[in-house]
């Protein structure tokens, strides 16, 4: 179905070059988005996806190349981009947490001026939320602080799609489903198709290739700051996409966890809220926490952590390490260097007479930089100079570098590319074989399948336990949706 408006350019970026110091973030990338299409953008972490998004939305001025909106040359900047109907939902949630949902709508929409803007903002965001996520149940008068991470993402998406005076022409979604469960993600994808059918355009960035393939009209693959493939979505399959991204696809040898329950459990927890199953962990196990997003998995991890480490007094011997999921909230120290972010958890072991041994610290940094391939010229750079996925790698290394025998992971792989994930999975397996225990909350089925044993959560309690071959998508879904004893 090719109509006239489909050929009209909304945004065209041509020959874009951007360098950050020695790092070439974009090396002559072209990206053209036309009205009435959903463009999927995929690539490795650090391939330049976020950078080109920032160029298109005006936040970053390219060192070379041109950006035109609606076919016309214009001055570059955030105001120009917004005036041309470009909206952006960022990977890190970018609402003001201290404001209410409707106040955030006011911030994002300059058109809501004058008297009674509150009523209008409320009406606008409520209507849009109901349109994108029917049955969402979010109170738009509540402060964003009081919302869960999934609800915040829903609000941000709704605000970006809403139009106070005129509807947006292009909405850029950077990993929009990273905190949404499957049901909400499906609602969003349906809405994108409707939005595109009405003549709008969407730039969709996601690491879930199924989403990209089912929702996009066209897929652009980026690698090392360049566009390496630009074809209709129907010409790609998951496999060819991954190949185009340049990942060495290791045939996912169907890994089946085994029952490793030997001896006495090293961690245990009674049934939560007085119902469901109890939690137990044995040495060398990889245990998965599955289920729909936000059903108490994170809280369970925190409870396990607090049961061993006092809330008041830091323990002398760390038995548990924690990898946070929300890295900007409780993961990174934004003002510190990569090295300091990495070594913070193991300073006790790195110091003699309570002074940190700089050379040992640097040695630790070098080891882990090589081991998990942190893409940076210098470990002394600030942590925020890294892309999101690489930041997550550093947090992961922070936990692995400690002497802790058990590592708790709160969905740490959100927004991390396939190649990095494979590397981390390998490290996980070898560490588990060496006797470490991992408790892993993940929202992704592929990761759950790597586990030896899986607890499925529903409404705050463990409703099922799956071991070895029982860990299949079907079983997990069955247990998450039906309260009964599955499998």
């Amino acid at each position: 179905m090719i109509t006239a408006h489909q050929r009209q350019e909304v945004v065209a970026a041509r020959g874009i070059r951007v360098t950050f110091g020695a790092v070439k973030a974009l090396d002559g990338a072209d990206l053209v988005i036309r009205s009435g299409e959903c463009l999927g953008l995929v690539g490795h972490n650090g391939a330049g996806k976020s950078t080109i998004v920032n160029v298109i939305n005006g936040g970053l001025t390219p060192h070379e190349g041109t950006v035109t909106y609606g076919g016309k040359d214009a001055t570059h900047g955030i105001a120009t981009a917004r005036a041309n109907g470009v909206r952006c939902v960022f990977q890190e949630l970018s609402l003001c947490p201290n404001l209410t949902v409707s106040e955030n709508t006011r911030i994002m929409h300059a058109g809501l001026k004058g008297w009674a803007w509150r009523t209008r903002a409320l009406k606008l965001v409520e209507a849009q939320l109901a349109d994108v996520f029917p049955g969402h149940g979010i109170d738009c008068d509540s402060t964003v602080d009081d919302l869960s991470i999934a609800e915040r993402q829903m609000v941000e998406i709704a605000i970006s799609f809403a139009g106070a005076n005129e509807r947006p022409k292009l909405v850029i979604l950077d990993e929009p489903t990273s905190s949404l469960d499957a049901g909400l993600a499906a609602q969003l994808m349906t809405y994108i198709r409707r939005f595109v059918a009405d003549g709008g355009s969407v730039l969709l960035i996601s690491h879930i290739l199924g989403e990209i393939l089912s929702t996009s009209d066209r897929v652009v693959v980026m690698k090392d700051g360049r566009v390496v493939a630009d074809r209709a979505a129907s010409e790609f399959s998951t496999r060819t996409l991954v190949e185009a991204m340049g990942n060495v696809v290791r045939e996912q040898e169907l890994h089946h966890g085994q029952d490793k329950r030997l001896g006495t459990p090293i961690l245990s927890m009674p049934p939560r809220r007085g119902r469901g199953l109890a939690f137990e962990a044995y040495r060398g196990e990889i245990i998965g926490f599955a289920g729909l997003g936000g059903h108490g998995q994170t809280q369970a991890l925190l409870d396990i952590y607090l049961s061993r480490n006092s809330n008041w007094w830091p323990g002398r011997k760390e038995e548990l390490a924690f990898v946070a999921g929300d890295r900007s909230l409780n993961g990174t120290f934004p003002l510190w260097s990569i090295l300091k972010n990495l070594s913070i958890a193991s300073l006790g072991g790195l110091s003699s007479r309570s002074l940190v041994d700089r050379s040992r610290e640097a040695g630790l940094g070098e080891t882990w930089k090589k081991r998990i391939e942190i893409r940076t010229p210098d470990m002394d750079n600030r942590i925020l100079s890294l892309s999101g996925g690489n930041q997550q790698k550093v947090l992961f290394a922070r936990a692995l570098a400690t002497a802790a025998r058990t590592v708790l992971m709160d969905d740490p792989m959100r927004g991390v590319d396939v190649g990095t994930k494979q590397e981390v999975y390998d490290i996980l397996r070898s560490e588990a074989a060496a006797g470490r225990t991992f408790v892993w909350y993940s929202t992704e089925m592929d990761e759950i399948r790597l586990c030896d044993r899986v607890y499925v959560f529903r409404e705050g309690a463990i409703v099922a336990e799956l071991v070895g071959d029982q860990i299949t998508e079907q079983n997990v879904l069955a247990s998450s949706f039906t309260a009964g004893e599955a499998a």
């Binding site: 955030i78 006011r106 009081d146």
Partner: protein
């Protein structure tokens, strides 16, 4: 009905003010009169204005350590120029407000810590105040004196002024678009910037508005004391910060409450009178005032914790 977290945050300051008031009335029933109330809360008006000024600065994640010396400077200007040649006095105030806006711009553009810049400015304001009034003196302008000692029917002027200040700033900071943008800068300045706002202008405007309230504070103070002194309001730096925190505000994150800030200022003033009524020697009063602060803040922490527990329930 589910209470919003902003309302919950107001409960503790309001309750502690009520409790202190009851205690004062119990010990000194004569305070329960028009004159008594006016005397109790008289000095709260300039403190409330300074607290609002500090709150605006704190709403954009900054802190103003020059508040005390700036209010002193304004008081000195009010007792000298504003009285002898009002036009020059008003010009000086406008200039001072412009300087405040400029400070905001400098802090934003150079990414300087506001504490350092305003600490430096505090010496500038202090020096200017000493130049104006090397020894205590000056005379309050007649109209200021009249305004601060007015006797409206039924409710004393101190209470009327406090309610007016709270109502006006609540409208500006909590209800207007401008206020939302200010608090947005405190909450997440990057997203405000991405939405097409000019954060530098917002910061400058916030600082200028804070300057306006600080000027009003200085003028109101002179109206009460009739003359000024270069060190008249040095306590205001810490009092204003304490007032904001007591009223449910936070140092970072753009979480502020104008009504809470005014209540906080009233509570601080009342705590002083309360301790005098308790016949606690002035040597111990500052310590006791600190103890009251600690108790109220501990209560607030407990309430916060309760709130988060409810949320994760």
């Amino acid at each position: 009905m589910k209470l919003s977290s902003a309302t919950v945050r107001l409960i503790i300051p309001a309750a502690s003010l009520a409790l202190l008031l009851v205690a004062v009335f119990y010990m000194q029933p004569r305070a329960m009169s028009y004159t008594g109330l006016n005397l109790l809360f008289n000095l709260a008006v300039p403190i409330a204005l300074a607290t609002i000024a500090q709150m605006l600065i704190m709403a954009v994640n900054d802190l103003d350590l020059s508040m005390g010396t700036f209010v002193s400077f304004c008081a000195c200007v009010a007792a000298t120029f504003l009285q002898t040649s009002p036009a020059i006095g008003i010009l000086i105030f406008l200039g001072a407000i412009a300087v405040y806006a400029a400070i905001g711009v400098v802090i934003h553009v150079r990414e300087l810590p506001s504490i350092v810049v305003t600490l430096g400015m505090s010496f500038v304001w202090g020096g200017l105040a000493v130049l104006l009034l090397p020894s205590p003196g000056g005379v309050a302008p007649g109209w200021v004196r009249w305004l601060m000692t007015a006797k409206p029917p039924v409710v004393p002027v101190a209470i009327v002024a406090s309610i007016l200040i709270a109502a006006i700033t609540h409208f500006v900071v909590m209800r207007s678009s401008f206020g939302v943008a200010i608090r947005g800068v405190g909450g997440n300045h990057r997203s405000v910037e991405r939405a097409g706002w000019s954060v530098i202008r917002l910061r400058a405007a916030t600082y200028a508005l804070a300057g306006v309230f600080a000027v009003l504070s200085g003028v109101a103070l002179v109206g009460l004391t009739t003359s000024a002194d270069a060190n008249i309001a040095l306590r205001y730096t810490l009092l204003s910060i304490a007032g904001v925190i007591l009223g449910g505000g936070e140092f970072v994150g753009g979480k502020v409450s104008p009504i809470g800030a005014v209540i906080g200022a009233l509570t601080l003033t009342l705590a002083g009178s309360f301790l005098s009524f308790m016949r606690i020697s002035p040597d111990w009063q500052i310590g006791a005032q600190g103890a009251i602060l600690v108790v109220v803040l501990a209560l607030r922490l407990a309430l916060n914790r309760l709130e988060t527990r409810e949320k994760t329930r």
